[in-house]
Symmetry: C2
Subunit: 188 residues, 2 copies
Amino acid sequence: MSIVLRQHIEEIVALTDSEFEYIQSLFTHKKLKKHQYLVQEGSYVTHEYFVLNGLLKASYTNETGKEHIIQFAMENWWVTDYQAYITQRQATLNIDCIEASELLSISFENKKLLCAELHKMEYFFRMKASLGYVAMQQRILSLLNNDARLRYEQLMQQYPTLLQRVPKLLIASYLGVSRETLSRFSAS
Amino acid sequence: MSIVLRQHIEEIVALTDSEFEYIQSLFTHKKLKKHQYLVQEGSYVTHEYFVLNGLLKASYTNETGKEHIIQFAMENWWVTDYQAYITQRQATLNIDCIEASELLSISFENKKLLCAELHKMEYFFRMKASLGYVAMQQRILSLLNNDARLRYEQLMQQYPTLLQRVPKLLIASYLGVSRETLSRFSAS
């Protein structure tokens, strides 16, 4: 199973077998059913997760009960409530499973240890954070530019299988458009 | 001057004098006048910048000529077109000076060298990237939640001096609201 994690890391840094054995020893395997929560608003966020298979969403629910989807996570994605994780505080997001999911989890302490012990893993996680930062910046640009059709097209280009796996209502929530607006794009 | 950079780094990792001397040797000092460009759309982005003093904006201009501000940068901030910098491609953003600015610049190659030579600097930049990612995520949430007044209040809370230093039109562009909407908030 964890060959997937090794391949994922080795897209950025090469690992020896013993390095990967050490890395692997710091992760725990986790299985969740459809609709089950990985992170609940208000709970302490002690772990970060790598998705082996399945599909999750990270979302924020505002005072009026409206849900805004901040991130989908599927195979080879990392997910947690990063603000809570980094600052070791309580979650403001909910993360739950759209499909049954298998994950590898690493605690804040073990990630710190891993990065301190293996410089190349510090580099790996720096690269992942930088790429994540850039992806977020692109999403902000598309939100400011307010072109909902373009946002939809970009999402479909990046993740062509997403529309088959995710209900349209959730795609609309991610894009910040109404379901009616989305139906117009996705039908054309 | 570079005591400012040392203090900034030492908020996250402690440095010896010789380590800081080495770090400093990889940076170049740069002075720009008001309205001058640091990065221009279409140019290759080879450097990242630390702001010693002054104020800049990073923005994207869409097909119709409308400018969307992605970031302000002032004292102790890092700025560049990160997408172009990380992928070593041409800029899609413009970065120009709202005030005359003094910067320290580090090339992509020197940053790579610095992080490889000094593990603690890899850690430092991992932390900065992670905190940047979280800040971007918060901004996406406030854009999706579409509460312009809250966005304005958060910005003023984070950077109370910004409104004095930045024309209202630019604040409006950053927040993704019209100047009229902004005037209503800022007057109240």
